[in-house]
Amino acid sequence: MTSTQVPTDRIFGARVKRVEDPRFITGRGLFTDDIKLPGTLYASFVRSPHAHARITDVDTTQARATAGVRAVYTGKDLSALGPIPPGWLLPEINIPEHRALAIDHVCHVGEAVAVVIADSPYRARDAADQVVVSYDELPAVADAMKARAAGAPQIHSNAAGNICFRWSIGDREKTDAAIRSAPRVVRQRLVNQRLIPNAIEPRASLASYNPATDELTLYVTSQNPHVHRLIMGAFVLAMPEHKFRVISPDVGGGFGSKIFIYPEEVVVSWASKTLGLSIKWTAERRESFVTDSHGRDHVSDVEMAFDDGGHVLGLRVRTVANVGAYLTLFGPCIPTYLYGTVLNGAYKFPTIHCEVEAVITNTTPVDAYRGAGRPESTYLLERTMDIAAHEMGIDPAELRRRNFIERGQFPYQTPVALVYDSGNYAPALNRALDMAGYEAFRAEQAAARKQGRYLGIGISSYIEACGIAPSQVVGSLGAQAGLWESATVRLHPTGKVSVFTGSQTQGQGHETTFTQLAADALGVPMSDVEVVHGDTGRIPFGMGTYGSRSLAVGGSAIHTAIEKIKDKAKTLAAHLLEASPDDMEYANGRAYVRGSPDKGKSLPEICLAAYLAHRMPAGMEPGLEATSFYDPSNFTFPFGTHIAIVEVDIATGQTTIRRYIAVDDVGRVINPMIVEGQLHGGIAQGTAQALWEAAVYDDNGQLLTGSLMDYGPPKADQLPMFETDRTETPTPMNPLGAKGVGEAGTIASTPAVANAVLDALSPFGIRHLDIPLTPARVWQAVQDARARGGR
């Protein structure tokens, strides 16, 4: 394959084919399960079939006698290990003890109870079936509203009433007063259903202990390998970091589900060290469904107050968040700081108050899922805005426009702690309405209704908060880590460039975007740059990829490191040219005397000089590399408007998406192709929440949607082509002006699609339906409406 050639003046901003693709399209990607080490053994886990039970006995006799079995371990064997801790604490929080293997108490279906290590995956699975676990079943509760009610089964002894924590933000008295005195208050209960991320690559881990060096190497499907090493090493395994290397090779999608430090990763690491052998585990999809962290699962009561002119006066939100059976890495942060702080949306709310009660249930633990808190708040706001528009007889686009924070009001202090650095919301809305042909659509809609066809249009004007930061602030709010990012940029003696980043791609195209960034900044061809990520042995440190942070934070770290290199290159070139460093400029891969481009040194010349070190300025060290730990001063705040146009077949309840329009402002863009791709995928996932996907538990805590068929992730024939456009308002918060795009599609699309369906159903007098708006739910609602006399 040849390197990518760029036909534009600047690589920054160019639609460049991805440099990582050749290996994937030829079958040469390297995912964790693809790695083979000599003598590897295979792990298979014995899991609880019950949602809640006491373990009375684990009999491993038969399993140990099964052909090919090397070891069988139970929770008691691992009792010396620390529990897996959450990564975010709140002042008053009840933390259930989360053991890698349950010792005497299981709290959700799929919780690991024992592990079999055998010489083949098939034999490990055979033997796992021979482990006999005796349980005393306990009453279970999967629904958070039921779990917090009096008389509910008590799950963990240290969380009375199953309350994990209570949290609030905003001004309660002011908000109560605003709502009491408002001419109009729109009230609605909204369910934001539980979702299962379902990255197509199942989680996997391969641990390899080397007794000769006392080093453990763990290959794992991780969005944050350094965080894996830190938490597993320091808290769970008591493994010194300098003897523990975590490698996250190609990762086949994450969407938040590969952030957490999972029990299986702990167990194979421990077993590898215990046996002195390499051990691999790869999830089967049925295991993914019950063990990968889930997302969302809120029930919220919202009250939005307006004056007679349709201007917002206040917002009161009471949310019950289901955190599952245990706390995950970001579990406590998602329904609080990533949710309550974003409830202001794009609007001028004078006051907001939000209370959250986090409830423990007998379900799979909840962690980040694409958007993590922000889809929940955006759905709540944008769905309520549409209900309000219909109730007040104001056009939904006009209601939003009337309440937008205006261009001249930035930086804007919201009533829920955040300060928005920049924004310009109306142009994105107007552009989306233009693309949709809004007025013409309303005419078409009216005509269609006369023919018994139900078309709907849904608007969602969102803001996002990306790259949660700065570290000092998140630390004061409970984060047990900093949220900066590191980069090392190394120039080799020939002028070739290695970029080591702490960001970790799961498909976002970092190798391309960061290569473009570095090639542009250094003025070298993209083929001269390599991007290295996902290996604690090669990268100084990294906080990983989640929260749409990689370009705004990780990219800024690369930029900052390159600035340091350019400074040194200019100083060294000045010395070689006998010029003053103050007179030097760097551009197009050369350091030269300002005004005399001919009097300069090329980057390869400077690199060679830096490594030869024959003629260095006094005090300058040889070599040419720099490291930056970049800590942003604030979040970034992308925004935009998405519009869905749907047709609902009243006879079947089936919704067809006729058009989907997205106008986003993610700041400056390095590769528009990748940005559009991120939006497409996000829109698909958010649309799926609106129409199809739901994790459904029965009253015994059994997951009813435990396969790809039952859960229903969208297929190609369920989605349209997406129409995308952008406005560009650079953020002043980082040197790139880039804000982040990984989650925008998911955040915006769920309410856009839900609003469109409810708009289509408005002739039936249907005010609201909870998502997912499946054919069954829509059909039933139409039948009920007809029984009530609507149409």
Binding site: M1, K17, R18, E20, D21, P22, R23, F24, I25, T26, G27, R28, G29, F31, D33, D34, K36, P121, Y122, P197, N198, A199, I200, E201, P202, D250, V251, G252, G253, F255, T282, E284, R285, R286, Q506, G507, Q508, G509, M673, I674, E676, G677, Q678, H680, G681, G682, I683, A684, Q685, S707, L708, M709, P713, K715, A716, D717, L719, M721, F722, G745
Partner: protein, 173 residues
């Protein structure tokens, strides 16, 4: 049981357990890890390979069923460094992000284009219904298949590589 399978043009003979799945034969015995396992229930399509001219989900075929057959995997599509038009199409149209579903998607599209060299969007979407992608929203996958169809039409060639130029058969599936 002893099986003999021609994979990407090379014949291999191996002793395998009767229960060994074809996908594990390809991945673990032959080391062809381009074919992926995304589920174990025939729903995601990441494990698609061409077997005797027809695409099969190799997680649902036993290796012994493949005895005597001819298989093409993602590793066998390119001719040396010359990418197959579908591989080019996926690259040029950003038809992949994480790359995990990609081999299966390309094989599914390969099967489609051989039957229908000029499919419309609805046909492409319908034929990719057995393959899940969680990253792209399918938008650029559809464009990639369209792009490959145009390339194939321009070259006047059928999409099959040399090692799969055999009559269609469903024997053993």
């Amino acid at each position: 049981m002893r099986i003999s399978v021609r994979v990407n043009g090379a014949v291999g003979e191996h002793e395998v357990e009767p229960r060994l799945l074809l996908v594990h034969y390809l991945r673990d015995v032959l080391g062809l890890t381009g074919t992926h396992v995304g589920c174990d229930t025939s729903q995601c399509g990441a494990c698609l390979v061409v077997m005797d001219g027809v695409s099969v989900k190799s997680c649902t075929v036993l290796a012994v069923q493949a005895d005597g057959s001819e298989i093409v995997t993602i590793e066998g599509l390119a001719r040396g460094n010359q990418l197959h038009p579908l591989q080019k199409g996926f690259w040029e149209e950003h038809g992949l992000q994480c790359g995990f579903c990609t081999p299966g998607m390309i094989i599914a599209a390969y099967d489609l284009l051989r039957e229908n060299p000029d499919p419309d969007e609805a046909t492409i979407r319908a034929r990719l219904e057995g393959n899940l992608c969680r990253c792209t929203g399918y938008h650029n996958i559809v464009k990639a298949v369209q792009s490959a169809a145009r390339m194939l039409a321009a070259s006047g060639k059928a999409p099959a590589p040399s090692s799969a130029d055999r009559p269609r058969s469903t024997a053993g599936v």
